[in-house]
Subunit: 133 residues, 4 copies
């Protein structure tokens, strides 16, 4: 299993007139979480993209538990619990202190330079095997 | 049942460096769809908020089928298929011509001026009854 | 001179907790205005980009006169008053009815596929000459 | 004079299909810079807002020098060089290492709970006097 934690502070631009973080800004936070989870095991999303791979999102589920507010310090916990195949799934929880703000899942797939679904880079699979046996 | 259709054109700011609409921009599109669906039956979200009610999102599910591109003309089809209670659920499909771009669901709940869950305004329920018998 | 008018409606996602359109969302509106201004004279920004040109922004000035609110219907007036060279300047005003919301200017330059500053496509210059004599 | 430095990392959502940070995302970065500059002298924008004051932007100028890219580590340098009155002006530079990405200025004014221009809180002025003599 892979697990990482990322801290972020809510920006003013991310609030809406209800006074909460706009519900549509959480996917941005999730992306920050999963990039960090990959970095934590030595995988650079930037390098992967520079070598011609992409990781578009296939499915997104978010459950909103509590509202986050401007200037809140949030912690994103990101987990990969299953060995990636042509797809990779991430689970997320975002907390403010003890309060659960949202929980979420995303599934992404590998895409090659011609923008077709493909297998992940061999080096990626080798790397992942050390975390899932 | 309530059903509405909304046209929108993809903005440059909504693309990402993969050359697609960023996956996290679709919740904005869904919100445009549901505001229009409510307008189509005479409910102004703006007025509802001005009279002290809010409609925060509780659950979001998006399934991504095809990528949308800059300057694409998209059509959001929004449906309410069940009589709202303290919650209201919307189903969505976004198409570019015949192509299905995403399908999605959201569930929202009514919130009063003190930011607590509440019943919807009586006038809203009366209005809805004419669409769901 | 080139002048175009574009209508847009303020999205909920574009508000902030002050209850106004977030100041940083206006550059998106300006982009919509200038794409429409070019379209109005037969220039497709999308096609120009597909043929290898880009138009990055060099300078941006915005003066905020009045706050725009959720669901407001805004009109963007976009003008090109000087024959473009390697640069093109746009002036903008955004109104809600009679009220001036913002006025703005941007200067953009032409960039080729290797991401270097360049001359505009010859066809673009020919087209422009018919508007500036 | 007040000066602060803030580090941030470019998010994927902040890029556009040109492969650069979208020009309209820099105002968000500037806001992060000025909130940090105020924090560095003991002023919490969040508390100021909770006590009924707002700080809307009056003027924005951005000069774009170089493109920032996904995952770049940027440093925002924010400065207040003149004693605030009913207005406060900030100057900014954003660098990636030695490269200047943008330079910018904003002027903001104080607004009271009734959304009218007003004088800043007395405590704010007292605090500022220690930095500008």
């Amino acid at each position: 299993m892979i697990e990482s934690k990322t801290m972020l502070r809510v920006r003013y631009s991310e609030t809406d007139q209800m006074g909460f973080v706009y519900y549509g800004n959480y996917p941005q936070y999730l992306e920050i979480g999963r990039v960090d989870a990959l970095k934590s095991v030595g995988v650079s999303y930037r390098s992967m993209e520079e070598s011609g791979y992409g990781l578009p999102v296939k499915d997104l589920v978010i459950r909103y538990h509590n509202a986050a507010l401007y200037d809140d310090e949030l912690v994103i916990t990101t987990r990969v619990t299953k060995m990636p195949t042509n797809k990779i799934s991430f689970g997320y929880e975002i907390h403010r202190g003890e309060d659960l703000i949202i929980s979420a899942q995303t599934t992404l797939f590998f895409m090659d330079a011609s923008k077709r679904a493909c297998r992940p880079p061999a080096s990626f699979i080798e790397n992942m095997k050390t975390y899932f046996n």
